[in-house]
């Protein structure tokens, strides 16, 4: 009689649906009764076999199709279409990365616009280098006391 009652509870036992007292009662019985123990193992194996079937994966365009269906319906669904690619749908860390990249791009662009090369051109920079390179010559060619003359020579060279 007990075996019959126990067997009715085996599925619930395996599914963890029994309260503690009942669970202990079933556990004790199946360890001492070989028939019920065998029955329990058969049910366990059946459940294991069920798990072999992992199911199917939804097709890759499942969401797209859903939004298309939704979009072809009422007007309210159009908000879904918009939401599909909206900025808020992007994870937070990606949003931060995008903001940083945009910031860097703006910074680089602005920097290149305001650089000396951009303003005066490459020729001016080269001219300055030449002037600095020849500055010592100007000092050497004048009289040590004629500092004013050296200054005049330098400024005229830079202007040319």
């Amino acid at each position: 009689m007990e075996c019959r009652e126990i067997r009715k509870r085996l599925s619930a036992y395996l599914d963890g649906e029994l309260k503690q007292g009942e669970r202990e009662r079933v556990a004790n019985h199946v360890t001492s009764c070989s028939n019920c123990g065998r029955e329990l193992r058969a049910l366990q194996e059946t459940c294991s076999l069920l798990k072999v079937d992992k199911g199917i994966e939804p097709s890759e365009d499942f969401l797209l199709q859903l939004f298309e269906k939704a979009g072809s319906g009422r007007k309210g669904y159009q908000s879904l279409q918009r939401a599909r690619w909206s900025f808020t749908s992007v994870p937070a860390f990606m949003r931060l990365t995008i903001v940083l990249l945009i910031g860097m791009a703006v910074g680089v662009g602005f920097g290149s616009l305001t650089s000396p090369e951009r303003q005066g051109g490459v020729a001016l920079t080269q001219g300055r280098n030449v002037a600095q390179g020849t500055a010592l010559d100007n000092f050497q060619s004048v009289h040590p006391q004629s500092l004013t003359q050296a200054y005049i020579n330098l400024t005229s060279l830079l202007k040319s």
Binding site: K8, L10, S11, A12, Y13, L14, D15, G16, E17, R23, A42, L43, Q44, E45, T46, C47, S48, L49, L50, K51, V52, D53, G55, I56, E57, P58, S59, F62, L63, Q65, L66, K69, A70, G73, Y77, S79, L80, R82, A83, R84, S86, T88, S89, P91
Partner: protein, 210 residues
Amino acid sequence: MRNVDGGLKREVEKDSRGALPDEELMLRLKEGEANCFRDLVLRHQRSVVNIAFRITGDRQEAEDIAQEVFLRVYRAAKGYRPETKFSTYLYKITLNLSLNQIRRAKVILTRFLSGEQDSQREGETSPGTEAFTDTPLTSMEKEEVKKAVRKAIRSLPKRQRLAIILSQYQELSYQEISEILGCSPKAVERLIHRGKNQLKKELASYIQKK
């Protein structure tokens, strides 16, 4: 399989990204945050497609049903009240639509007939009574078992099949299943008990082989 010690896989619905619970997403959707709908679909599409697939046995039908399920959820969002767990609500719609689809297309008969043909073919080609060793199943054996399992589940009476699908694949508690099926947890236990015993008979050759 669920843990016998009661560590059941019934955790609160939250996805791997640790986002908001389903019910919160629904409330936000109700307030007009359409992106929440997208999150809900991504989170549950696999479950819904698979429930429908296990009931109808057809991938395309299952995907169509799943899309209809989500559209209904979206339409109903304005009147949503978090009185029941979102997954319970979602699976209820899924079961109803899947069963309606079966009724409409009379696919039960089709599946049953094609299942018979499949089993005849499988009988001719499968190793049959050859004993399995204790080694893990090869991919061919797995494929064979998978077919047999699907066929066995489809052969169950409707309510047993639904209870088994929700219990064994969705890992819902008997209480949750009872809410979806509209019966008592005790009745769910009986359905599952009978269902498992039936499956045990249907899959006996594979159980012995193992």
